[in-house]
């Protein structure tokens, strides 16, 4: 992929059009890991800059065959109703601010789930123009689901570890 080439010297194009994440990482109060949710996990999905491959797999995870809903897992519309964020993709320019706003709107205690290689360490889009960082630069995720894209079984397994059923 021609856009994924790493180079020692940043090209003028990258200097002009990328903005590295400069604001500090969000501080979060110490979290009690997963199992306190007792079988009910509602997540707010935030796509900060993904190719939609992970979204397709997440949709499959909630669809009839894999059916994460039977374990009490679901997606909600408002971060205030959510127990945490389900983040996919690398952090692009325009989504840095909205991601921080969404984090600020969460009601503690929360879990942050990074779904897919892009959310975990940038994946194949790490060096692309328009990318300003990865999820770790903004907030440390509690749960990590690797894969490009992750298999719906893996997604369901990871989320069940959080929800406790």
């Amino acid at each position: 992929m021609i856009f994924a080439r790493r180079s020692r010297v940043p090209s003028p194009f990258r200097l002009l059009f990328s903005r590295a994440v400069t604001e500090p990482r969000e501080e979060r109060p110490p979290q009690v890991a997963g199992v306190h949710l007792h079988g009910s996990l509602q997540l707010r999905h935030v796509d900060v800059g993904s190719c939609n491959g992970c979204e397709v797999e997440i949709a499959s995870a909630l669809a009839p065959h894999y059916d994460a809903g039977q374990y009490g897992i679901g997606l909600v519309a408002s971060p205030r109703h959510a127990d945490g964020l389900l983040v996919t993709g690398v952090i692009t320019h325009n989504m840095d601010g909205p991601l921080r706003q969404t984090l600020a709107a969460l009601a503690q205690p929360t879990v942050i789930v990074a779904c897919g290689d892009c959310a975990v360490d940038g994946g194949i889009f790490r060096a692309a123009p328009g990318v300003s960082g990865i999820l770790q630069d903004v907030v440390i995720p509690d749960v990590v689901i690797r894969g490009c894209p992750p298999h719906p079984d893996d997604i369901v397994r990871a989320l069940r570890r959080v929800s406790g059923r």
Binding site: S78, P79, R80, P98, L99, Q101, T102, A104, A105
Partner: protein, 665 residues
Amino acid sequence: MGLLGLAAGFCAVAAMAAAFLARRARVVVSSSLGALGCLLAGASALVTLITGTTSTFYTSHLLPGAGLSLTLDPLGAIFILATSLVGVAACVYCVSYAHGPMASRAAMTLFMVFVLTLLVVPAASNVVSFMFVWELMALSSLLLILTDQSRNDDSRSAALWYGVMTQLGAASILLGLLLASRGSASTFSAISAHAAQLSPNVRSFAFVLVLLGFSSKAGAVPLHVWLPKAHPAAPSPVSALMSGSMVAMGVYGIIRVGQGLLHGGTVWWWVAVVTLGVVSAFYGALHSTTSTDLKRLLAYSTIDIQGLVLIGVGAAGVLGDSGQPFIAHLAMMAALMLVVAHAGFKGALFLSAGAVERATGTRDLDRLGGLIHTMPVTAFVVAISACSIMAVPTLSGFSSEWLLLQGLLHGFNDSSTPAMIVMLLGVISLALTGGLTAVAFVKAFGIGFLGQPRSTGAAQAIEVPPTMKIAMLWLVLPSVVLGLVPGEFVGLVNRAASSALGKTSLEPLDHGTGLVLAQLRGAVQPAELFMGVVGVLLLVSAANRLLEQRRARRVDAWGGGRDVQTARMQYTATSFAEPLQRVFADVLRPDTDVEVTHIAESRYYEQSLMYDNRVNDVLEQRGYRPVINLVLRAGRLAQRLQNGSIHRYLAFGFVALLVILVVLA
């Protein structure tokens, strides 16, 4: 009667004080005297309602011709009670509110005269005194509308419409009363005794004339057009009195003439009254939903509630004629209780609207918001009064509407066709207006007081002075008391209804604190319901404490991840009502105007777009304005007769004289 006379005396002294005192003392002294007068009048009304007696007063000195004759009976007393409730509040409110044009000699004197006439109209008992006091009431309120002309010529146009319509109405009433008093003395008791000897056609014609005049005053559609103009244009205490008690005088007139003087008449009279009520209720509720001016919203809501009152009065008439006196009594009681409840909550709302206008500089709901933080007392008053209008249980609006619903429901027992149609129409109307009223007042309170301020005026509002607060809180009392313990007042309202319908031995409601229908197996105990609701609220609060939650954290509102939600992004009053405006577009006929300016180079690109959407009163636009234009055209045609030549005018005089001589010969 003595107390009422004393009250009238106090108001007259208040008027003179307003006319002669210097500015500093003028407002305080006349307002206090006026408030005292209203209190005394309220006391006299209560005494009359409790004892059920009628007292009279006559003097031939104050008025020419038949003299001034006053009779205070329970029917008049209940209207005087409603007036005194609002009058006390309006006078106390005036103490801080009146400055500038409102504190002038003319304005304060007229205000006191207005209060005085409102207290005396329900007691006037011959044609001369009734018309005199009625006209005085109309004139003083007309001049009061013109008090504050600083803003624009809204006031002048409003005063013109009000003046013309009220004068036409007064002429109609006078004609009707004269017709009814043919062949007898002009006192109401003489007319009443003589009414059986008039032919039915004469009686019906008299009733129709009187109905035209009084229903226009009561704000019945289609004669309501002056109301949404006049009530916003007048100063707030005047609006409160106009809306809380002057429109009730229209209803008083219909009851007094229709039932008292003409003894019920035929069924179709009251079917006409119910039809007026049904149309007014729906039209008023719909327009209040789409009004963005706070006072205009309240004015249309007055039309709505008076429509419901007319439904009650009409149902009482229809059922009385068809031989169901028990339920007729119940319907009349419901209508009268609604009159008193309306005086309470509408007065409070108008005074609060005045407070909001004073504090923020605007009445436009699209520019208000966030006032609950800066004006908590006003917000509380508006909240309670709005809940009362929306018929939230345990408040006065619910008690009155429940009684009205029971009256209509049991009216179905009567199997005559007019009764069935009337009850069905009434029920449908009540059902339609309930939801629309809720939308209107959620809009008024939610957009006006909650959320973020939509203009600098709203952001910089400060709470009003203590006398204005006391006046507004005083009017919250009727909503709460009539709502929680309506049973205590059932006896009073019963006597008023008996006096209205002329039957004294019926008691549709049992005694107690709640409303219990005798024999008809229906009851509601608002006090117990209230205790239940409060009990649950206390339990929930206690549970909250027990859970040891941290205090709530203040955060920015969630705006979908965009930048912080600004005040401009909120829903406005226009947008809140827009779905209903679309649904009822055929009835409302909004005027939509879109103006597009294209760039010079091409018609495919727009430079600017202007969108104007306003809901005007459709009856005014399509009904009245063509008639007015016709009259103006006829006037211009007639102008051609006046060309300035004295020869022509002499010729006209000569021809007229010839015609008269020929006719007399």
